[in-house]
Symmetry: C2
Subunit: 161 residues, 2 copies
């Protein structure tokens, strides 16, 4: 066996290690430090909305520097990460305050790793956990809906100046 | 006249120029670039609230790096700037979206310049304007209320992780 082949075989498992999960699928990392990223925009889905039980509360969107380049040009470069932060809401006579975290949805642009889903990886993390990944929706389900709704890319939001 | 005196007289107006307004009061600068600062927290004051007409809409708070040090330690260093961003809200069947900017309230920590109001300068900017300063509330009115409500400093909010 040639040395080059041995080196290649030694490197390969490590290189694949951070790219794929145990199931062989490319995996999206927890977006460490996203709370200090740029706040793109917000909305509130209140108890008066028909989808409150499933999706109610504050929705805050955050973007890393690469994704901010994308929000400005509408062409998102490799390495773009967008976080959709879901928080419970507490109402007091018409004043809505932020409550506990419901989940953290993440989109990561990597055209090679996530070629099957439009070049974007999708992952939902449960509540405040950095390791517990929601079983649903699947990346394919996320992609299908974003693909259907898209205007100029799979990122559906726009930056609010 | 000695040269040093002449130099001093030449420098003095310029040095005072950025510190005080025409009225002789210390002036708070527009917080250029605050939309890329850290998003501290949000709330929504909906039409169901009794103060909606005056203060309704989304309230987003942003902090510069010095102020983030303060949010973490509850001791705000000189140079801390905190922005309270007020946006109109648009409701559609329980979903609240962000609307036009109502105003931008700014607090700046400078113990010397703003000694009269607890070491903090207060200023409200009108809508999206970087130059139009609201006549009211006055810094003294802002200070009086913050002073009354304070727990461990004049910043009333806490960082939401």
């Amino acid at each position: 066996m040639k040395l080059a082949t041995i080196v290649w075989l030694l490197i390969l498992p490590g290189a694949i290690g951070w790219q794929v999960s145990d199931g062989g699928e490319a995996q999206v990392a927890y977006p460490e430090g996203y709370r200090t990223w740029v706040h793109v925009k917000s909305e509130l889905l209140s108890p008066a909305h028909q989808n409150f039980a499933a999706n109610g509360g504050f929705h805050h969107i955050y973007a890393n520097p690469e994704a901010m380049t994308g929000y400005r040009s509408r062409s998102f470069p490799e390495g773009s990460v967008v976080v959709f932060d879901w928080l419970e809401t507490k109402e007091d006579n018409g004043l809505f305050a932020e409550g506990a975290r419901r989940r953290v949805d993440v989109m990561v642009k990597d055209s090679k790793r996530f070629a099957k889903t439009g070049g974007w990886g999708f992952q939902r993390f449960v509540k405040d956990s950095k390791t517990e990944r929601a079983a649903a929706p699947s990346p394919e389900q996320c992609f299908a809906c974003h693909e259907k709704l898209k205007k100029d890319g799979l990122i559906l939001s726009s930056y609010r100046p």
